[in-house]
Symmetry: C2
């Protein structure tokens, strides 16, 4: 029996709990699991439990991680540092800590600074989400076929990586090993930049004196490009503020390209505008064609692993060079 503690029972935390509890122990490399849930808001804990996302709630951090094997930090990114500080005196040797935040460099630095050497930290970031937040929006198949980024340091023990790798596979996601700095630069471009662009579109049009008329004419195009603006502002702000270096580089590149297009439009250079649109269409169509179900091409990007090891959890865990289950 593997014990897993989820701290923070919002959309991601509760969805993880559901997915882990729904998994067939005979199919999962984790085997049978017990999910302990903790949230500083008792109402959230109650709702998460009511939706069967956890086996049992804990009333304190100490109770939550007592005798646990894996700790998943699923709180907003801005509170992760404080939670780590609170955990330090409570952690036991061999415990594995992971998180689900969308920025990995900062979280990795906090872990290196705060966590004792007898526990292992592996950063995690599932590339899945919904507009809605909280345990109400949680669903067990949120991670199905999603890429799940994992950042492990050079001193991270193999058994800890195995444990988190197994957790990721058990919820239906695909482990994707990546360096923290690289992760932050990449997700800034394909996740944080789109989020900022989407909200900025609504901000600019909504601030217009003609907004009432604009709103009447806005249709599916506006709806799609502005979709991310309906996400949770607190969570989005946290994401944008914890990845300034990755993000500002992309904003600069974006403004430069938009300015180039502006000049071409103003000066009537239709060929230049047409060429950009043509390139963009081709890039996107190829991207979309490469993944059934609109998920990134998982198969292409799994990294080979040298050795299979029996794990401390007493199981031979599948690694990311194994064939995906069918």
């Amino acid at each position: 029996m593997i014990r897993i503690t989820i701290i923070g029972l919002g959309l991601i935390g509760s969805s993880l709990g559901m997915a882990l509890r729904n998994a067939d122990p005979k199919e999962s490399a984790l085997g049978a699991v017990e999910i302990i849930g903790y949230d500083r808001d008792p109402a959230v804990t109650r709702e998460s439990r009511g939706r069967l996302a956890i086996d049992r709630p804990a009333r304190s951090l100490a109770e939550a991680i007592d005798g646990t094997d894996i700790i998943v930090l699923a709180t907003p990114v801005q509170t992760i540092r404080a939670v780590m500080q609170d955990l330090v005196p409570l952690l036991a040797e061999g415990m594995v800590v992971t998180d689900v935040a969308s920025t990995k460099l900062l979280v990795g630095q906090w872990a290196a600074e705060l966590l004792p050497s007898q526990v292992d930290f592996i950063g995690g970031h599932p590339m899945a989400g919904r507009e809605q937040s909280g345990p109400k929006a949680a669903k067990p198949d949120l991670f199905k076929d999603a890429i799940y980024c994992l950042t492990a340091g050079p001193r991270t023990r193999a058994v800890a990586i195995d444990a988190v790798d197994a957790l990721v596979r058990t919820v239906g996601a695909k482990p994707y090993y990546i360096e923290a700095a690289e992760h932050d630069a990449y997700v800034a471009g394909i996740s944080h930049l789109p989020l900022l662009l989407s909200s900025t579109l609504v901000s600019v049009t909504g601030a217009s004196s003609g907004w009432k008329e604009l709103a009447a004419l806005a249709s599916t195009g506006f709806r799609d490009v502005s979709r991310l603006a309906s996400g949770d502002p607190q969570m989005q702000s946290d994401i944008l503020m914890t990845n300034p270096h990755g993000l500002t580089r992309w904003i600069d590149a974006y403004i430069a390209e938009l300015s180039t297009m502006r000049a071409a439009i103003e000066q009537g250079r239709a060929d230049e505008v047409g060429a950009m649109l043509q390139r963009a269409k081709q890039t996107r169509d190829e991207w979309l064609a490469a993944r059934p179900g609109l998920r990134p091409g998982e198969a292409d990007f799994e990294q080979p692993v040298q050795i299979d090891r029996p794990s401390l959890l007493g199981l031979r865990l599948p690694r990311n060079n194994d064939k995906p289950r069918t």
Copy 2:
């Protein structure tokens, strides 16, 4: 029997034909209709006819408009001027000409310059579309509950407005009377700007040396914000190039707001970023709540009309202060 000629049998032209042919003559203010279709590409004409979008194809413009009542110009915007020139010697007194282009100022200027005074021109722009183009993508319910902008000049005869108004209602759309300049400024913000932002996102990320990895990590957020980049580049280029004045103003406002956010992110001003995200969420959520089916709040924006007139078409046409059909 009202005869309607559709010139240009792509997505919009063929969908209009289907919607008109599918309408119940007893319910429609147009009564029974005959749809004549013309496209300079015979293969497109054949496909449009094969999909039952038209009653009969014409082999020339002259044949297409012989004895017709309403001419719908549904060609790409860049070719409308040339088609108008070709039509001039063929037009008969009392014919009504309308178009479906997404920019109205330029098309209105062409009409004023070229068309003889014994025909009436009313600009039209249905706020509906699809990513795909051509008669293959056409569908009879494309305009259902969509806003359909109409721009009439001060000298446009009431009977002509009545005819196009009836056509718009017959295809299931809602007439929305607006000045051409105003239309262009508004749609630049809620339609052309989103289109440009979407393609620019793909252009910037796709040009990155890390695109292969970015592509692997990109998920639903990237998919949604980039959706418009998969549209027809030629059509999109036409749209952007024929509305430079409306669009550049919005691009400037957008870059200014994005630069403000960039500075706030770099300087760690989380409150400012959070406030923008909060405002954008509220604006979008209210916008979305105001329209069932993600269509703009039609009911609020219909304009009252003073007089009901019997029309030259022999019917009392419903005007835009009538209750919508239920």
